[in-house]
Amino acid sequence: MTKRTKKQLLIYLGFVGPGLLVYLFIVAYPVFYSLWLSFTDYNPNKGGAWNFVGLLQYKTMLTDPYFYHSLKNNIIVVLVSVFGQIPIGFILAYILYRKLVKAERFFQSMVFLPQFLSTIVIGILWKRLFSADGPVSRIIQLVSHDPSAQFTMMLSPKTIMYPIGFALIWMYTGFYMIIFLANLQKMNTNMIEAAKIDGASETQIFVKVILPLLSGAIAVSTILAIAGSLRGFDLIFAMTTQGLQRNNAMVLPIFMYQTAFQNYSNSMRFAYGSAISNAIDVISVALISLSNLIGKKLNAGEEF
């Protein structure tokens, strides 16, 4: 190595080094730390004494009824995202793209807004809106002419995921709308023009031309929706009160949080929590692969 390249390398490292070190220590290292933790019985009450225990934490998890309960709720959240937020976002983006409404900038900015508000604040707001004496109850009273009617879905374990699903759609649909809109706008319009000249109808253009061109964007959105839904914590945390109600609506990240940071009597709380956290990653990789597989099957079918 010549003296010149050595000096250049030093300068290069001077530019990359500081940021990269912070990144490696705080983002990359914890991933391995978390993996290691989940195979130990790390005991924070005894100053962090630990032994390797193999798959013990994962075995505990698979026999824990709370795990299955949170998994079920989390799958509901994933389904709401994939089959609620994405289609609605797509329809809204398509309407904007075809310039079917005026004041499109106004509509766009309104629908996109919740994306940038604090999820905790929005969660608290929806909690108030859905409360027994809240604005939603009042609407029900006005519509049903029954002054004692109340919105009770938040109170029953059977129905609590409906209002939560609604709030989730409210919060995130705008994000997918923007993604689709950007992809629609950079789409090559020649094919649509050609299809129009060939006498294709609006529906035919949509199904045969636009949808296939957007399959990439749909795939990306699905990945983002799955990963985001499995990690989503704030909104459901804020919409529910600690105790029975939050347990009814528990999703995996909340299960992880309660295990690691609220269940002080469990001496293996951090190890068990890490196992849950790693399980979330495994589940999200599995679901993303599954969605890719389904996407490929569908695409293959369309090509006859």
């Binding site: 530019f15 990359v16 290292y29 604090s118 004496d133 604005p135 409210w170 993604i179 990306v220």
Partner: protein, 362 residues
């Protein structure tokens, strides 16, 4: 025949869009105007427009005697000047929530001589005091959430986290971006880029347990520094990605001519590259700052004392503690969302571009 289908499409489009826009906006509108309503008004009619806190000219006040459940805005031990303590009879009456301590020396004798239990109307007071009380009544929910929830301090904490972390994200991000885009060592650069790109898959939520353990080992939990470092590290992937893309497209001849003039690499970076990178720096700053402003779990786990809590955590605990004071809570919610909305509406176009760029390429 007139194109019936096109008209139908338009009508359906408008119906969908207007209803969706209303669903999005109405809850926020309700939050804003209701934050100027007293608790009694909210119980009476949850949809009515604010009245009691706004039109307070005729409000009645009751003179009360000093007691233990009052929180004095001055030290009653040292400040012995005679005062008339009055409490509102309209807003949270008898709950000692809206109490004013008027110096008797500023009052006309007829009012200064009132005894506990006597009542007076707001308009009977001297104009200066009347205006002050009137103004404070209007902002009652906001001042209460500020003082009782300690939200003013948390507001500043949130500002500190957002600004310092964003600054570091920009400094580190553009430095790495410059090195990757404009320096030799392409193989190392590709490696660095792929490692940092993986950061997109990792969120604070997914490594919160090891983060907590690591930071407790080095005594950085419950410190501003620890929280800022974590935000910086997790903000880097987006910053590196966007600034690398941007700097790569800048003409290389500019830097070469600077080198010919004898400028060092560092100098070329900050006097030539950085000024040209401002557009993408703005985009990265807004996205990072908004994300940090709204982040919740990290501070919830790391901050154990009131000194380091951020606004979302403060608003959350305030709302669980004062679940009966809906007006105060709504004011707290507005305090936490208003700055984000301001930034959103001022920089909307850049935000949209940044989000799309980050999501599509990431």
């Amino acid at each position: 025949m007139y194109d019936f289908k096109a008209v139908l499409g338009k009508v359906v489009s408008y119906v969908i869009f207007i209803s969706w826009a209303l669903i999005t906006v109405l809850p926020l509108v309700w939050m804003f105007y209701s934050s100027f309503k007293s608790n009694e008004e909210l119980t009476r009619d949850i949809y009515a427009l604010p009245h009691d806190l706004v039109f307070n000219y005729n409000d009645e006040y009751v003179v009360i005697s000093p007691s233990l459940n009052l929180s004095y805005p001055y030290d009653p031990e040292t400040d012995k000047r005679p005062r008339l303590i009055i409490e509102s009879a309209t807003i949270s009456p008898t709950r000692r929530l809206m109490v004013y301590y008027l110096l008797k020396e500023n009052l006309p004798e007829t009012i200064a001589g009132l005894k506990p239990g006597d009542t007076l109307k707001l308009y009977e007071l001297p104009p200066k005091i009347r205006r002050s009380i009137s103004w404070r009544t209007f902002w009652f929910n906001y001042s209460s959430s500020f003082l009782r929830g300690g939200l003013g301090y948390k507001f500043i904490n949130s500002l500190v986290y957002a600004s310092f972390s964003t600054f570091l994200i920009i400094v580190f991000g553009t430095m790495i971006g410059f090195a990757i885009a404009k320096m030799p060592f392409k193989k190392i650069s590709a490696f660095v880029m792929s490692i940092i790109g993986l950061g997109y898959l990792i969120s604070i939520n997914s490594v919160i347990i090891p983060l907590f353990l690591m930071l407790s080992k080095v005594h950085l939990t419950d410190t501003h520094l620890g929280i800022i470092l974590v935000y910086t590290a997790f903000g880097l992937p987006l910053s590196v990605l966007l600034s690398t893309q941007f700097i790569r497209d800048l003409p290389g001849s500019l830097i070469e001519s600077a080198y010919v003039d004898g400028a060092s690499t560092l100098r070329a970076f900050y006097s030539i590259i950085l000024p040209m990178t401002v557009p993408v720096i703005i985009t990265i700053s807004i996205i990072s700052a908004l994300g940090i402003w709204n982040e919740f779990l990290l501070v919830l786990v790391l901050a154990s004392s009131e000194l380091t809590k951020s606004l979302p955590v403060g608003v959350y605990s305030f709302s669980s503690l004062t679940s009966t004071q809906l007006g105060w809570q709504l004011a707290a919610l507005v305090l936490a969302t208003a700055p984000a909305m301001l930034v959103y509406f001022s920089f909307q176009k850049r935000l949209t571009e940044g989000v799309v760029g980050g999501a599509i390429k990431g």
